[in-house]
């Protein structure tokens, strides 16, 4: 059975293209474009991994990440923070809310897949 990735980004075009890439690589993709929807889908649709943008409407990525990592039911879902904010403080904040990895935008597809495979134990 293919692994399910929850892709969260408010840029619909990017989501569309990345979905194409993940599906081509054999993953199942579900997506959300705001923080609240991301939280709902993470809780209800059993994703194997979450790729989470930081600047999101309704609730930012840090908060989504923190809420999931605090909850024993979801804390084991790996989360890759995914952001165009590349300041060191942003990475630090990511560590603090318990993110598993950080990928800066624009990203290298190889690097992203490397991280995904590592986190999914593939």
């Amino acid at each position: 059975m293919s692994k399910k990735i929850l892709l969260v980004d408010d840029e619909a075009q990017l989501v569309e293209m990345m979905t194409m890439r993940f599906e081509a690589a054999g993953y199942e993709v579900i997506s959300a474009n705001d923080g609240q929807a991301a939280l709902d889908k993470a809780r209800n649709e059993n994703p194997d991994l979450i790729i989470l943008d930081l600047m999101l409407p309704k609730m930012d990525g840090y908060k989504v990440c923190a809420l999931l990592k605090k909850d024993s039911r979801y804390k084991d879902i790996p989360i890759i923070l995914f952001s165009a904010k590349a300041q060191e403080e942003d990475r630090k904040l990511g560590d603090e809310v318990g993110a598993d990895a950080y990928i800066a935008k624009p990203f290298e597809p190889e690097e992203l897949f490397g991280k995904i495979k590592q986190l999914l134990g593939e």
Binding site: E11, Q13, L14, M17, M18, M20, R21, A24, M55, S83, A84, K85, A86, Q87, A104, K105, P106, F107, P109
Partner: protein, 769 residues
Amino acid sequence: MAAKKKTNILIVGAGECASALLEMVNKDSPPVNIIGIVDKNPKAPGIKLARRLGIPTAKDWKKFIRLKGLNEIVDLSGNHQNYQRLLREKPQGVELVGGPSAKTIRLLLERPKRAERDIAQAYKTTRSIIEKAPFGIYVVNSRGTIDYVNPAMIQISGDTYKKFKSLNVFTLPTYKTIGLSQKIKAALEGRDFQMDNITYTPYFSNKTTVRNFIGVPLKEAGEKKVLMIVEDITGRKETQEELLRLKQQIEYILGATKTNIDIIDSDFNIVYVDPAWQKLYGDPKGKKCYQYFADRDTMCPNCGIPQALKTKKTVVTEETMPKEGNRPIQVTTTPFQDENGRWLVAEVNVDITERKKAEEILRKIKDDLEIQTWGLNKTNQAIKLLYKELEQNNKRLQELDRLKSEFISTVSHELRTPLSITKEGISLILDEIPGEINEKQGKILNTARNNIDRLARIINNLLDISKIESGKITLKRELVNIKSIVQQVVTTLQPKVEERGLQLKVVLPQKRIDIYADSDRVTQIFTNLIYNAIKFTESGYIKVSLNEKKDDIECSVADTGVGVAEEDLPKLFDKFSQFGRVAGGGEKGTGLGLSIAREIVHMHGGDIWAESPYARRHDKFERGTKFIFTLPKYTTMRFFEEYINNVVQEAQEKDTKLSLITVAIGNLEKLKKNFSDAEIESLLTIMEEVLKSTLRREGDMALKVFGGVVVVLTECDRENVFRVGARLKQNLDDYLALQRLAKKVELHFDYLTYPDEVKNISEIMDKLK
């Protein structure tokens, strides 16, 4: 013979009153017989005494009422309720005396003694009054001789006691001359007399005094006598004359200082007015002050008298004298009581015409000053306004600064987002996910993707340089081995260099070189320089080397690429300057890498420059550019000093405490016999590592220095340091035990807290040494 029969009494209450009674009865054997004494308190003084006297005692009086012959119950308890009970319960035929008035009984019993005492006291008092009297007293008997004379009289006469006693006043010539002998004879017949202001020189001595004589007839044990009282008023007369002189002087002074004095009573009647005013205003007799001085019918509006009398305190007021051309005076009204207890006020009226004039001048000066002050205030206000504006400007600038850095952060985010979408689009096509592409298409898209990456790098570098330039970057310095930094950079960049067909040479010294630096930033310097070299080198090699100098480390990145004209060398580090150097293929630069490198080097206290000695030569391989930068070398000691400096400064700023723990090897000398220096050194290194791993907070540190290991704990007070110390000791002990060294190495712990025990850095250093 019932009359002779003694009364049997029972005493209830054994207080002091009862014991007094017991004592008297026992002594004087009066016609009473005490058959018992009662008190609830067995320790009462009456009970104790009764036991000594063999009188029966009890706690309850009812024990005695059955005894035959009880006539009286004497209640000496002083307790009213007790008396009521006795009254109710006493058997028939028994009288009850005393009761709550026991105290009266006691007084009655004691009275004769007291009277005697009083008389004795009174005699003693009278005697001492006479003896100590300030006037002469002597007693003349009917024969004219002296029965008694007091010390004061001897003093007045100037005679001896013996001589005075030998006088006979009837025949004394000096007495006869002034008619005193006759007066005394008359006094013996009952006529008292007084003779005042007599200037008298005694018979024996020649001490002339002014005296008052008083003679009072007296009867003592049936004999007629005269009590003579002699007052020496010599001094008094002198005092009176002195007073008169003083009065004149005062009046002179008052006149000279234009000061007047008056005394007024509580009804505003004039008691006294000084002569100067009397001359001016006439006789004050029977006049109220307001009539006399101001022709008014009622009290003057400013009058201080009522307040002075009410508060019994001096009141100071100002008045003008209408009859003296409105001359201004200051009136000091002081309340006092005369010998009859009547309240009066004394008024001292000082002329203040001159003062008023002075005040007027002062007022004018003040007005002038006020005008000037007003001007100054205006200026001040203007300055304040300017300052406020300046402050606002400053705030605006700060806000602008904040907005600027926020803007940069936002812009870079906003730029990267479309960039990432574009890149992903191109990558998707290049990865042929939507479908196959041909080679030419691929080449074009590859170029596009490379330039997107370049744009991203430019954005990153711009962000970096703007942060550095606005001082927003703080170095996260630590003690690092620069060799390992270089090795890591080389490993990362080796593929890129080789990809370009170049060689990467590395020349490193043998030993480890510690620097106190931000390793990420130093990595960035090397990365930027190597990227720069790649960019301008088409063939040959890139050489990275470290060279240890006396005080610093010289790092260099040399290439065999296009050189730089000498005059352009210093400008290399400016932003976006490429000086006609033709870049090689591959990744394009951002024009910011060297600027960033320079800034980082400077932040570390180092220097950076470029050399291009072969720039004008034509031989391809000998041309090239060499970038050199220095980083200060750090000995452990230098690092430690700088670190202590920083943490002490921080503690000062934050007003927190700082503690140090030194861990030394106590039996070092002994250890040196069994272990080599290198072994001991490595033991210390391991101790340092163990201690470091035990520390939990970021600011804390353990360092091998001064022949031991010093642990520095920031924001740690005296109490906490022992707690941490115990933990450190435990870990070290565990380690030593594991290495089977526990018995061989004696550890010695010392604690030091700033600012409790040491006040400054040099004190800390001294203590550590």
